[in-house]
Amino acid sequence: MGPARQAAMLSKKEKELIADIWESLTPVAEDIGADALLRMFASYPGTKTYFSHLDISPRSAHLLSHGKKIVLAIAEGAQDIGQLTVTLAPLQTLHAYQLRIDPTNFKLFSHCMLVALACHMGEDFTPVAHAAMDKYLSAFAAVLSEKYR
């Protein structure tokens, strides 16, 4: 299923919910992003191989800045999910031709992002929010890997 179709699977309510959640997280973008990355490195050590050029120890400047970058990109996409392919065009090129991160890793990161959200939001991370967020992150990852081949 193409990424545009995936994004279309989100209802209007779900899109609003997702946009609201990410807007509220923008002030703590670097904490959420760094948390998700650290979780991924702890559970899936193979993912560390993409970061040999950075200091990814807890609370390191690199980790915080990288986490912030990722969360802000996800948050930006969430403000207009219908336009994901347009919003992410530069990142698509970056991931396809420079970073070339194996797309399986996007799933691992998405899972850790969901866990980070659960820890941060507690009960507010309801099953409905979880379902919507999982769908959004899947669509986001699919768009990101669109130019790979």
Partner: protein, 147 residues
């Protein structure tokens, strides 16, 4: 045989000793049915699963969620022999219930999220990794007797 570090053993015992089985089990199973609706295929005789509210309030789902968690507790008490602990349940899920084993991971992912939301900051990356490792071994044991 799976090797457990002292940290992993202690973490698993700690998580489950503090866990409220009566609510976590139902929360995990109902979350799974909401987030991955195709899993509802195995619960055709559970009554109303029409929407999230119905699923979360369904007493049969709640009861089954508890059953699952009490079964996990057996694994917590037998971490060095998970294969044998779940052999019978593996046969049950394969021969009688005919559950696609890929679904087990969906449920354990939801359980991880439920535990995370309850533990908050205490659910560190290392704790998460330990829980995921335990659940992965249980899932593997449950898939063992499929043929």
């Amino acid at each position: 045989m799976v090797q457990w570090t002292d940290f992993e053993r202690a973490t698993i015992q700690d998580i489950f000793s503090k866990m409220d089985y009566e609510t976590v089990g139902p929360a995990a199973l109902s979350r799974c049915l909401v987030v991955y609706p195709w899993t509802q295929r195995y619960f055709g005789n559970f009554g109303n699963l029409y929407n999230a509210a119905a699923i979360m309030g369904n007493p049969l789902v709640a009861k089954h969620g508890q059953t699952i968690l009490y079964s996990l507790e057996r694994g917590v008490k037998n971490m060095d022999n998970l294969k044998d602990t779940y052999a019978e349940l593996s046969v049950l899920h394969s021969e009688k219930l005919r559950v696609d084993p890929d679904n087990f991971k969906l449920l354990t992912d939801c359980l991880t999220i439920v535990v995370a939301s309850r533990m908050g900051k205490a659910f560190t990356g290392e704790v998460q990794a330990a829980l995921q490792k335990f659940l992965a071994v249980v899932v593997s044991a449950l898939g063992r007797q499929y043929h």
